[in-house]
């Protein structure tokens, strides 16, 4: 194993094998940033050495290698950041509304800020297309106006899209309008039972 820095790729590998996103890893991100800074500082100092000559392949190969290594590491870090954003949006689109607390707990402060700001951009678009169509949490095409659901675990009261308040008590069944039922099912609060 040669000594090419590997913190960035470790972050990517962790992200790649995670069902959603892994806990934001500030320590490793900082370590990766330090690695990039160090290599970059070194590359610049090499170029300013008195003995440095841009005609000498023994020097230019060094520069080439160092620039490539930190450029790659930088790209990995940016990919880590943006790929996590894509997962955040993916979830936002899947459930509609605010991200569940369990998911929010995995995010960095900057990511939470992004999530909230993104909500704003999305709300603006949905307001502009009119008709009050919510484009997120679209489940399978409608078959019936009403959907039968079963409550798995008690989850307190929820406010339905229609403004009605529904008490979710374990093992109870309800017949809800589709628009009311879908978010509850997608968020795993109730189960869809087909007749």
């Amino acid at each position: 194993m040669s000594g090419v820095p590997s913190t960035c790729s470790a972050l990517l590998r962790e992200l790649r094998t995670s069902p959603w996103v892994p806990q934001y890893n500030e320590a490793d991100v900082q370590k990766a940033i330090d690695e990039i800074d160090e290599l970059r500082t070194h590359a610049h100092s090499v170029a300013h050495l008195d003995s440095f000559s841009d005609d000498d392949p023994a020097w230019t190969s060094t520069l080439t290698a160092e620039i490539q290594i930190y450029t790659h590491a930088r790209a990995c870090l940016i990919a880590y950041a943006t790929c996590r954003l894509s997962k955040i949006m993916e979830l936002r689109w899947a459930v509609g509304g605010e991200l569940p607390a369990a998911n929010r707990a995995l995010l960095s402060p900057a990511e939470l800020k992004f999530a909230d700001a993104y909500d704003g951009v999305l709300a603006e678009y949905m307001g502009a297309v009119g008709g009050g169509l919510d484009l997120t949490n679209v489940a399978s095409p409608p078959k019936e106006l009403y959907v039968g659901v079963r409550v798995e675990r008690s989850a307190g009261a929820v406010v339905l899209a229609s403004g009605q308040v529904l008490q979710l008590n374990a093992h109870e069944r309800h017949l809800l309008r589709r628009a009311d039922a879908e978010p509850l099912i997608l968020q795993g609060l109730v189960e869809h039972c087909q007749q």
Partner: protein
Amino acid sequence: MEIDGADPNVNDDVGRLMQAYVNEKCAPHILPYEQQLAGIIVELVGLQEEKMGGELSASDPRRPYYELELERMRWLLRAYLRTRLLKINTHAFTILLSPELKSRLTAAEVEYAEGYVTLVEEHVKASVTGRLKAGDDNCHVLAPSDLALLLPRQHDGVVFCRIDADAGQVDLGLSAGSAELRRGDIVASSFSDVEPLLLSAGADGGPAMATLV
């Protein structure tokens, strides 16, 4: 079963919007917004909703069927618009850099794309590039190489395309060059090779010469 079009009482636009949705789902990059088509359906949905809230009596036996149809139409519109937004998420940087692709978006979609790109850039600056040491203030800006990273590299992809009108000799861009395409043929081809067929309306602005299946 192909009797839809033959029936003067049936509104073809519904089927055409379904096809527009499938096209959008299958095409690897954004297609022109079906302004007219989607506009008609949005308007009809609005009118129908008005009717339900107004003139139609609460006990009218047709009400549940009207409601179910409205649910179906709203689902279709949502699915179509949603597919486009998700695609814009994926290709936002590419789209905003290409005047041709950008012109395919609605004003609201452009605004969405720009808002979204700004947020991504801000986030990347705050959590990566802005934290790196650099001898220059410009490091807070995303470099072209960072941008290049954010542009998905596979713009093209293979699609299944059904020819809906005799298209004559068509260049499929492969080693064999062109092929004679007849109505009803189905080809698996690069999207870029069949895109012109997909976007070409018939002589009188009628349906396109091909659809994605």
